[in-house]
Amino acid sequence: MRRTTGRLMRGITLLSVLALGATACGGSDDDSSDQKAVSAADIQAALKKGGTVNVWAWEPTLKSVAANFEKKYPKVKINLVAERSGDKHYTALSNAIAAKKGVPDVAQVEYFALSQYSLTKGLTDLAPYGADKLKAKYTPGPWNAVSDGDKVYGLPMDSGPMAMFYNKKVFDKYKIAVPTTWDEYVEAARKLHKADPKVYIANDAGDAGFTTSLLWEAGSRPYKVDGTKVSINFDDAGAKKYTDTWQKLIDEKLVSPINGWTDDWYKGLGDGTIATLTTGAWMPANFVSGVPQASGQWRAAPMPAWTKGDKASAENGGSSLALPELGKNKELAYAFVEYANAGDGVQTRVDEGAFPATNAQLQDPAFLSKKFDYFDGQEANKIFADSAANVASDWSYLPFQQYANSIFNDTVGKAYVSSTKLSDALKTWQDASIKYGNEQGFTVEK
């Protein structure tokens, strides 16, 4: 059922993206480079005048931020539309942009999807509004994701530096050491599964975001983007590190074939049959609401390294707030985005459990020494902040990453269910992505 819906949604998304592309080609030829700078006084005047800002964002902490913003600027009404998320959010956004109707003034856009919208001129360049001066506020990974040269297409809302979460109860029970490198991880996976065949070190049925994060950590840079010139190449040393190690886990059936974010996944995280989860630092909030029964059993640890002592890290997930080109009330919309992602809103969101992308919060002693009840009082933010500082900032996603991710299961996914080798499967993914990119009018090569 979920897969069918997924395919259906994929079809719709694709259709909308095509429509979006068509609009961008045939549409306005205004040159955004001679956009007039918007001064702080203009924004203040707009705030005094008031109006409504329509925001499409699912991030739950924005609710309080919007309430505080309205309190501070009583003439402004923030209309937060929060019921859509993930694929459906982008489908709705692309449809609205294609139909040129009902486009929100502010939209939450994940980092991997940003360039898709910015490239089709779907998003407003925020540099003239003063966003270009905010660079120093953010950690390099998220800033790199929202900016392109001197253009800024959104303000980073959160970030997802990678960490490994592990079920301490399970590791203690079988007296297995918590792995610090991926080689130790494979070793631990073997021991765990031998001790109890129901226990797997991780679930992995093929997940595009996870794979790209591991490649990122391993130093692989498969995607190179220069305007509409793109190259995709999974044939480098980093990718080899990843495929060699992960192939062992797949061959020996040491990863549980459960898809992430399903009921089974939540169940597995709760009952100890999935022993670790390597993912972004935003995960604690999801643990609290989705896996309440395992409270106290889990801990955070640094992501395993490819070579012992290596501190390189990567990002997974994270999103920005952006201003769609067709939105209205640009000054007000920008004022809200700046308040939420660079101003007072950041602290509100951190207090409610969001993981920030701002240096000030990441270095704040109160933030670092926060004790997580879920992790039995562990000061997990120290691990996450350390990871955030070690993220290499030269990673880029494809301008059609959303599509590439959607075909991941049909290509790389085969390595998990058949005898296809992971390295060959990556090659298939590469070829399919290149083919699609060229069809979309990009110049894509290996």
Binding site: R84, N95, A99, K101, Y266, G290
Partner: protein, 315 residues
């Protein structure tokens, strides 16, 4: 109307025919008569399996609605866990996100009343006209209607979206109501039903008595069509109540969501970074969502049952 419909096995009519001739087939008569048809073990087992297959998800739904988020993960799906949270779940479902569930419920009612009600009305008018009047192109209309029954609504959804988008109607309730007004199956049903249920002689009598076409329709035909109307109304109500795909692509504003979309939105929160996992509310909401449909069926079944059997016996 008072007699409930008895289940008859395929060979029952022959039995009845045999019996009416008065032949003294005592053994056969004692064992099974038209009132007590022959039993088939195979059919009973098959029916039993289908019953289990249909009822199990419902039982699961009812049981799961009594559990907390914690209980859902920790207990078997087919039995209660130690925490009985049904009332709390219902309370939370109605109050979560500022009580938007109530709004979705009202939206669904609106779409059903206008969409399904309108579809039924159009089906009656069209079916009556096609059954009782001759006009050029009738066969073509027949072909179109039969063809339209075969086209799944899903296939039309995207073209419909593009059309409505051009008209500037997307993201308004009209985008859900207007396409719901068309029910080829309902039209076909009413057509067949009107052919059987309204004797042409009766219409001629009304005309001779001086009634105009409008009066003939409302005072003579409508009452005769009542069972068929209820049937079509039930079908279109269920179709509109359960409609998911059309609102999904038409609506962006959650304030106009029907229940199907709203519950799906809650469900997908569990698949989102930073999302609130409320599976227990999704399950309780689903249970609450099917209750009005069950109520509609129970209240209307005696009407539509008599409708289904109309024309099956020659008096």
């Amino acid at each position: 109307m008072s007699s409930s419909v008895t289940t008859t096995s395929p060979d029952a009519p022959e039995q009845a025919a045999g019996g009416s001739k008065g032949a003294p087939r005592l053994r056969t008569r004692r064992k099974h008569s038209p009132g007590r048809p022959k039993r088939s073990i195979l059919l009973t087992v098959l029916t039993g399996l289908i019953l289990v297959y249909t009822v199990v998800p419902l039982i699961w739904l009812v049981i799961s609605a009594t559990k907390t988020q914690d209980g859902l993960a920790n207990s078997s799906g087919m039995w209660f866990s130690s925490d009985f949270a049904l009332w709390q779940n219902i309370h939370d479902t109605f109050t979560y996100h500022d009580g938007i569930f109530v709004r979705w419920l009202l939206n669904t009612l609106l779409y059903v009343v206008l969409g399904a009600g309108g579809a039924t009305l159009l089906a009656i008018l069209g079916g009556y006209a096609l059954a009782k009047f001759t006009f050029p192109g009738k066969r073509a209309v027949f072909a179109v209607v039969i063809g339209a029954v075969a086209v799944p609504g899903t296939a039309l959804a995207v073209p419909t979206f593009l059309m409505f988008s051009k008209m500037g109607l997307t993201d308004t309730p009209w985008a859900v109501i207007i396409p719901s007004l068309v029910s080829p199956f309902g039209l076909y049903l009413m057509w067949v039903f009107a052919t059987e249920a309204i004797p042409t002689e009766l219409m001629e009598a009304a005309r001779i008595d001086g009634a105009g076409e409008v009066r003939t329709f409302f005072q003579v035909a409508m009452p005769l069509l009542a069972p068929g109307t209820v049937t079509v109304l039930l079908f279109t109500t269920v179709a509109t109540w359960n409609n998911y795909f059309l609102p999904l692509i038409m609506l962006k504003d959650p304030n106009w969501y029907p229940l199907t979309l709203g519950l799906d939105a809650w469900n997908s929160q569990a698949q989102t970074i930073g999302g609130d996992v409320v599976t227990n509310l999704v399950i309780t909401g689903s249970l609450l969502t099917i209750i009005p449909l069950i109520a509609a069926f129970l209240l209307l079944q005696k009407y539509w049952q008599s409708g289904l059997s109309a024309g099956s016996v020659k008096e």
